[in-house]
Amino acid sequence: MAAVQDTVEQVRSIDVDQYKYGFETLIESEKAPKGLSEEVIRYISAKKEEPEWMLQWRLDAYARWLTMQEPEWARVDYPTIDYQDLYYYSQPKQFKAPKSLDEVDPEILKTYAKLGIPLREQEILAGVEIPEGERPRIAVDAVFDSVSVATTFKEELKAAGVIFMPISEALREHPDLVKQYLGSVVPPTDNYFATLNQAVFSDGSFVYIPPGVRCPMELSTYFRINEKNTGQFERTLIIADKGSYVSYLEGCTAPMRDENQLHAAVVELVVLDDAEIKYSTVQNWYPGDAEGKGGIYNFVTKRGDCRGKNSKISWTQVETGSAITWKYPSCVLRGEGSSGEFYSIAISNGRQQVDSGTKMIHLGKNTTSRIISKGISAGRSNNTYRGLVSAHRKAAGARNFTNCDSLLIGDNCGAHTVPYIEAKNPTAQFEHEATTSKISEDMLFYCMQRGLTQEDAVALVVNGFVRDVLQQLPMEFAVEAQKLISISLEGSVG
C-alpha cells in the first residue's frame, strides 16, 4: 500500500521531461582511437594489462566477427550502425585502478551520488545520517564507461570467501577461474553482438561464490555510459559453486544525447550442484526523446547455465529504458532437477522498440521452468515478447509454465507475442497462457470516480498488472522499479 502511495507521489513530482538521469559528467577521458581494428583490440588489452591468452581470445573473436552478419529477425528497425564510427574504449583521464574509495575521482563519486548509488560505505550521501543496521547492505561495483571505478564492501566479502571485483582485475588475480568459465556459457561463436563483445569488452563484474556460502549481502553493478559516441561492452561472469547462493542486481543509466549509442553486453552465469543465482536488472538507459531521437541500442546476450543437479537460476528484469532493446536472458537447464525462472516487465513508450523474452532449454531430466512476462506498450512504441521453450530428447519430465501478458495504453502502440515451443521428449509438459488487454477508459473512469487523478489511475492499474513480477525483486529494487514504471509511462494517456 505504501509503495503505491510512493508511486503516486512520484508521478506527481515529475516534470514534463522525465529522464532524470540524463545529465552528463564533465570529466576528461582517454579513448582508444575511433573505430574497430586489431590495433584497437590490442590497445584495450594492453590498457587492461591482460595475459597473452586473453588477447588471443579477443583477436579470434574479432576475426570471427568480421565474417558474421548482423541479425535481422527481431522486430526492431534502426539505421545501419557504422561500427567504425564508434569509440570502443574510454576511461577517465589519469585513471589508475583505485586502491580505495579515497582515490576515486570526486566528480565520479558525485555522479553516483546523484544517481542515488551508495559507493561510500561509511559516509552518508546527501547528508542524511542513516543509523547502523538500517543502511542498505549492498556491495556495489560501479562501471563508468569502460572501466570499473569503485567496488565497495570488498573486505567483508573477502572474509566470506566471496570474490567480487572488476573482471579486468579478476583476470590478473584469479586468471585460472576466469579462464575456466569465461565463454563457457556464451561461446565466441554465439551471435553477432556477443562476438563483438568478446573482441572489445572493457569491464564488468566478476563474482565467485565458494561452495556452501550464502553471499552475506546483495551484490550489484551499476553501469553508466557517460562519454559521447562511445559504446559500452561490459562482460559479467558469475559463478555459484556447489550449494551456494547469491542475489545480484544490475542497474543502468546514460546521459541524454541526440545520437544513438551502442551497448552490447554479455552476461554469463554458471550454477553448480544445489546452488542458486538470482539476477535482477533494472534497465533504464536513455530511451531517446518522444520523437525517437537518440537513445541507447541495448543489444545484450544474457545466459545462465544450470550445470549442476538441482541448481537454479532466476532472472528478473524491469526494462524501461533504451531506444531499442534486444535481449533474451536464458537458462540452459542441464543438471538433473535444475530450474529456471524468467520474470520480466518490459515497458515501451514514445518510439521505443522492445524485442525481448527468454529461452528455456531443457536438457536434463525433471527440469522445470517458469516464465512470467508482462509487456506494456504506450505512445507509438512496439513491444514484442519472443521466447523459446524446448525439451531435448533426454529431458524426461521437463515442465514449463509460461504466462505472457500484454497491456496496451493508447491506440498507436503495438504488442506482439512470438512463442516457440519444441518438445522432443513425449513426457514434457509445457503450458502457455497469454493475454492482451487495453487500459480501458472504463477502468480509468472507475478509478477517477473514486477520486484518483488520471495519472494515479494509470499508475495503479499498471502496478496491478505487473505485481506478480515486482514481487520477485529485492525490496529496495522493487520500490525503485515501481517508481520507474510510473515515470516511464508519464504522459502516455490523453
Binding site: 500500500m1 505504501a2 503505491v4 502511495q5 503516486v8 480501458s440 477508459e441 472504463d442 477502468m443 473512469f445 472507475y446 478509478c447 477517477m448 470516480q449 473514486r450 477520486g451 484518483l452 487523478t453 488520471q454 494515479d456 495503479l460 492499474v461 502496478n463 496491478g464 498488472f465 505487473v466 505485481r467 506478480d468 494517456v493 490523453g494
Partner: protein, 293 residues
C-alpha cells in the same frame, strides 16, 4: 482526454414538452416525511436545470430538470433507453458525454465544470451498474488509495494504516465483505452480488454527499438485495442525498424513497411519492410508449 464541460451553459427561460404531474416541480411537492427527511428543508443539494447531453450525435438527455434537497432519497424509474444511466454518467463526469445545454449545481457549485476526480472529492459517488475489475490491485489498496486521494484533494490529512484497517473492519462485515474479498483484486472473481456489495462498501468508506446508485438491484437475488438495501439505508443522513436509479419497483420496497420520478426520452415526465413506484409496477411503462420489460 480529461473533459471539462462548458461552464457557460445557457438557461432557457422556460421549457416545452411534458410538465410535471399536476404542474408541480419536485421541490414544490410535499409528502409525508420519509425516514430520513430533514426537519427543515435545507438548500437544494443537487439542482439540474434543462440539462441536454449527448454521446456522439445521439442526444440522450433532452431538457432534464431535477432537484434533490439534502437528506432526501429520490428514485428515478423509467423504461430502458430513457437516459437514466446517462444521467448518472453526466453527473459523475464520464468522458464522451457532452453537455450541450443546461446546468447542474451541487451545493451551489457548477459540477459540470469539474473533472471526475474533483467531483468525487466534492462528494459525488456513483455506484456502478457494472463495477469494473482491476486485476492485481488489492481491493484494500484501492479503497485506501481512493480515500486518501479524496482527502488530499480536500486538503485533509491522509488516513493512517491502523485507522484505515479499523474503519474497514467496522464496515465490511455488515455488508458480508470477507477478508478474502478485501485481499483479492478489485472486483476480480466477484459474483454479481459481491460486486454490488463492494460498491456499497466503497460508498460507506468514502462517505459521499450525493450517492447515485445506478441499477444497483440488477442481477441481485432477494437476499443480496436486502443486504445492499440495508447498507444503503444505513447511510441515509440529513446531510446526504441519494439518487436511486432502477428499473423495478422491488428495490424501492427496501430503500423507500421520498420522491419517485419517472424518466422518459431524456426528461423527467412525472414525479410523485413512493406510491408512484407501486402504480408503475401495476401499469408498467406502457403509458410512456414502451413496455416495462
Amino acid at each position: 482526454m480529461r473533459q471539462r464541460h462548458g461552464v457557460d451553459a445557457r438557461h432557457k427561460a422556460g421549457h416545452d414538452g411534458f410538465q410535471n404531474d399536476a404542474g408541480l416541480g419536485p421541490a414544490a411537492l410535499t409528502f409525508p416525511p420519509g425516514p430520513a427527511v430533514a426537519h427543515q428543508r435545507t438548500p437544494h443539494m443537487l439542482e439540474i436545470k434543462n440539462l441536454h447531453a449527448r454521446i456522439g450525435d445521439n442526444e440522450i438527455l433532452k431538457g432534464l430538470d431535477l432537484t434533490i434537497p439534502a437528506g432526501e432519497v429520490h428514485a428515478i424509474m423509467g423504461p430502458n433507453g430513457s437516459g437514466k444511466s446517462t444521467l448518472s454518467y453526466v453527473l459523475s463526469g464520464k468522458p464522451d458525454y457532452e453537455v450541450t445545454e443546461g446546468t447542474a449545481t451541487f451545493n451551489g457549485q457548477d459540477i459540470l465544470a469539474l473533472a471526475p476526480e474533483e467531483r468525487a472529492a466534492a462528494g459525488v459517488f456513483l455506484a456502478f451498474q457494472y463495477p469494473i475489475e482491476i486485476p492485481g490491485v488489492a481491493n484494500m489498496q484501492f479503497l485506501r488509495a481512493a480515500m486518501n486521494a479524496q482527502k488530499k484533494a480536500r486538503g485533509e490529512e491522509e488516513i493512517s494504516t491502523p485507522d484505515f484497517l479499523k474503519l474497514v473492519r467496522a464496515k465490511a462485515p455488515d455488508l458480508g465483505i470477507t477478508q478474502d474479498m478485501l485481499r483479492r483484486g478489485v472486483n476480480v472473481g466477484f459474483s454479481g452480488g459481491e460486486k454490488k456489495r463492494n460498491e456499497i462498501l466503497q460508498m460507506a468508506l468514502l462517505e459521499p454527499k450525493l450517492c447515485i446508485l445506478d441499477e444497483t438491484d440488477s442481477g441481485l437475488d432477494i437476499d443480496a438485495l436486502k443486504v445492499v438495501a440495508q447498507g444503503v439505508n444505513a447511510l441515509r443522513a440529513p446531510d446526504r442525498a441519494m439518487l436511486v436509479i432502477t428499473h423495478y419497483q422491488r428495490l424501492l420496497d427496501h430503500i423507500v424513497p421520498d420522491v419517485v420520478h419517472v424518466m422518459h426520452k431524456g426528461r423527467i415526465v412525472r414525479s410523485g411519492g413512493a406510491e408512484l413506484a407501486l402504480e408503475l409496477e401495476e401499469s408498467g411503462y406502457a403509458a410512456y410508449g414502451q413496455d416495462a420489460a
